[in-house]
Amino acid sequence: MKSQNRTALSRRTFVRGLALGGAAASLGFAPASIWAQRNSLREPTSTLSGTNFELTIDETTVNFTGASRKAITVNHSLPAPTLRWKQGDTVTLRVSNMTSEDTSIHWHGILLPANMDGVPGLSFHGISPGDSYLYRFTVKQAGTYWYHSHSAFQEQRGLYGALVIDPAERPPFQYDREHVVLLSDWTDEDPGRVLAKLKKQSDYYNFNQRTLGTLFSDIRNKGFGTTLSDRLMWGGMRMRPTDLADVSGYTYTYLMNGTGPNGNWTGIFNKGERVLLRFINGSSMTYFDVRIPGMKMTVVAADGQYVHPVTVDEFRIAVAETFDVIVEPSGQDAYTIFAQSMDRTGYAAGSLATRAGLKADIPKLDSRQLLTMADMGHGGNGTDPHASHNVPPAAVDPHDGHNIPSAAPQDSHAGHNVSSSSMQSHPFSEKGNPLVDSQAMAPTARLDDPGVGLRHNGRKVLTYKDLKSFFEDPDGREPERTFELHLTGHMEKFAWSFDGTKFSNADPLVLEYGERVRIVLVNDTMMTHPIHLHGMWSDIEDDSGAFHLRKHTVDMPPGTKRAYRVRADALGRWAYHCHLLLHMEAGMMREVRVIE
């Protein structure tokens, strides 16, 4: 089932894992080799497997753009080494901090005791300079995950790596060979400066705004009236339909397994093989649209959990999501894995080839699309990009329409009817709140919407509707309580929050151990947010309110309202946040506390 290549790799790294594991007791060992190589990047990223791991966080000099910068790395590797665990094993990881700042490692999507989750202030104290922390827990699940720092901006500075957990039982699909494809974004700028710039000028990185030129071309192509009403709509809201990403290719270099597009990372295959690609989006701020021209991809797992296989041409991967896809290369010796950023300002790319050095053409970036009124949760058919132009301006005035009293109070069962397009109610804390610049009026789940820029592009694009968990609802209970939370923000201020309240001002969401709750998210903003709950699964419901898809990160495009079930089976304090790093840092975060 598995290739010789991988077996060989496993054997070699297994030996290394042992050696380092053995050295865990004596701190004297590791530094000898690490000091010698201090500050130089080890390439390519290695795979460490076994049950004992020694991870050293340090600063390493990297150069992705022609300029040298200091990255924060694990074992001088960017991405950090791929860790290979086995379901059912108890793993021990000693993480040492050789940097001059506090650090941490969070195992994204992994079910574990709260004090192993790696969030400073909630799980543990963080790892001080010169200190180390011993993570030890039993691996309950299998699949593709990742790990990253949960301290300050270290994730943007390079501290992330792939996590692959081999299942205890055979997976429901077969493959001959596998590759991790870890996508990320790199900036030479200090990420703190990036945030500061956005606070001063929120469209700093957007050089694709509408101009006088696009005004004239729109008038020519769509007519004066349509163009005018469109401009009045957006201008009236003080929003830009070009706001697809806060941080763009202006500063980012997009990486595939730590390699820029010119470096041509290459995954080898032999003809006739079925290849499993483990896609991970380890970006701080970038959504990618991924395809392999000339090849279909069969998605077999999402966020590490098996799904009914679905064959697509392209998928959008939200920040922090993972997708396992199987491809069967035939007819070509080389294929391009093309991952364009959602705002079309750049791409990560690499190759699948029968040998190193081969490469196929890299496609052109798709044309940029604009957000529509449906994207803004102002109703209309989300899958029809032209629908927006039919919405009369009055319907989109942000001050209009909210006066209509909401429907009768919802009981906990009616509350999950997210497919309804009735007028959306909003929490009191959003009222008159200077941190809330928009509110969705008629948000819907839109599970079948490929998303802005991917609609009607002639390719079969993956949607959440296509992704169906391979298993029945593992809990089976109806949620007893429903929490509705709104994703809120103010674009011009670059302020982000839940319900208009930033993390530092918000009370924890308290759940009782063992209960099952429903969380309904309403995206009131015009950005898309990947929402991640630590420690527990997020089981997305379909339009009828039934269990649909198990995830650890739920993508919330603008103007959507999506519901998921959470089984509170993990005692402790857990982080719950938007996984766009700068949104989290700006306040789009909550603590979820599971108590007895």
């Binding site: 192993m116 400073p120 429903t482 530092s504 005692l571």
Partner: protein, 282 residues
């Protein structure tokens, strides 16, 4: 004609702003606060996968003594913008003018400062600075209050300042400030500017400013009512967002009693000047 249009436009803008500032976005409170939506149905259902019973080990692992995740969402940021730093020529004078604004603070509470003035190689003609506390009170509008100190023209004057500023529909930046000084002198100033993107880096910025005075201040050659207007068009190129040289044109006009004072002193009541400058921020 262009000026007349700019002026008409300003008046319309002010009307729009006034209605916008008053309009409140309406939040329909959720019918029942989330915590009370429980309607706790006694769980007759049992989970398919049993909930593991808790052990002392679980409890110990769950709540280590910790102070909570360090939040970074209250960080203080700052912004300093030289909106105009320019050389002006036309008529008899050549001057250097500046108009600078900035803030330090968070998303809602900020300390603002503004300064503007004009100098030639010999002396400072006009110069003032303001220090204001600003609070965002609605989606797009800040309330500001503080002090203004005029250094020139002589004699120097001090003022208490109160106003609003914000982003009007269609991305017009607007400031309206009223000033009260000694002897119950009053002034008011309306400013508005817009950024028209010709390309994503070549940007045309029309700007208008109107000054009013409650009563005549002969010591400073200011009449009552509408005293002066300044309108400008500046075309800049953003090599970086932070750094943009520009060329432009600026019209100044004095009205009413202020114009009379100017005429009596042999000064022009209106001037059209060309300008070259740099817009920069950090």
């Amino acid at each position: 004609m262009l000026r007349a249009r700019l002026r008409l436009f300003l008046l319309m803008l002010l009307a729009v702003c006034a209605t916008d500032a008053l309009a409140q976005e309406v939040a329909i409170p959720s019918p029942v606060p989330p915590q009370e939506q429980q309607g706790k149905i006694q769980a007759t259902q049992q989970p398919v996968t049993p909930i593991p019973p808790l052990t002392e080990e679980d409890r110990a692992a769950a709540f280590p003594g910790l102070g909570g995740h360090p939040a970074h969402d209250k960080k203080v940021f700052s912004f300093v913008l030289f909106d105009q730093l320019e050389w002006r020529t036309g008529g008899e004078t050549e001057t250097v003018n500046w108009d600078m604004t900035g803030w330090i603070g968070g998303d809602v509470h900020r300390l603002w400062f503004r300064t503007e003035g004009e100098t030639d190689e010999k002396r400072l003609h006009e110069g003032e600075a303001q220090l204001l506390y600003g609070r965002a009170f609605s989606r797009w509008w800040d309330f500001v209050a503080g002090v203004r100190q005029d250094i020139r023209p002589d004699p120097a004057r001090s003022w208490a300042a109160i106003g609003i500023q914000g982003l009007a529909p269609h991305f017009f930046e607007v400031r309206a400030t009223a000033y009260v000084g000694a002897s119950w002198r009053t002034q008011a100033r309306f400013e508005a500017e817009y950024e028209m993107l010709i390309t994503n880096r070549l940007i045309l910025q029309p700007r208008v400013e109107f000054n009013l005075s409650g009563k005549s201040d002969p010591e400073r050659s200011i009449g009552s009512g509408l005293t002066s207007a300044e309108e400008g068009l500046r075309l800049r190129y953003e090599f970086r967002r932070e750094f943009a040289p520009y060329v432009g044109i600026s019209w100044n006009q004095k009205f009413g009693g202020t114009a009379d004072f100017a005429r009596a002193e042999g000064e022009a009541t209106r001037a059209t000047r060309f300008t070259v400058g740099i817009r920069a921020w950090f």
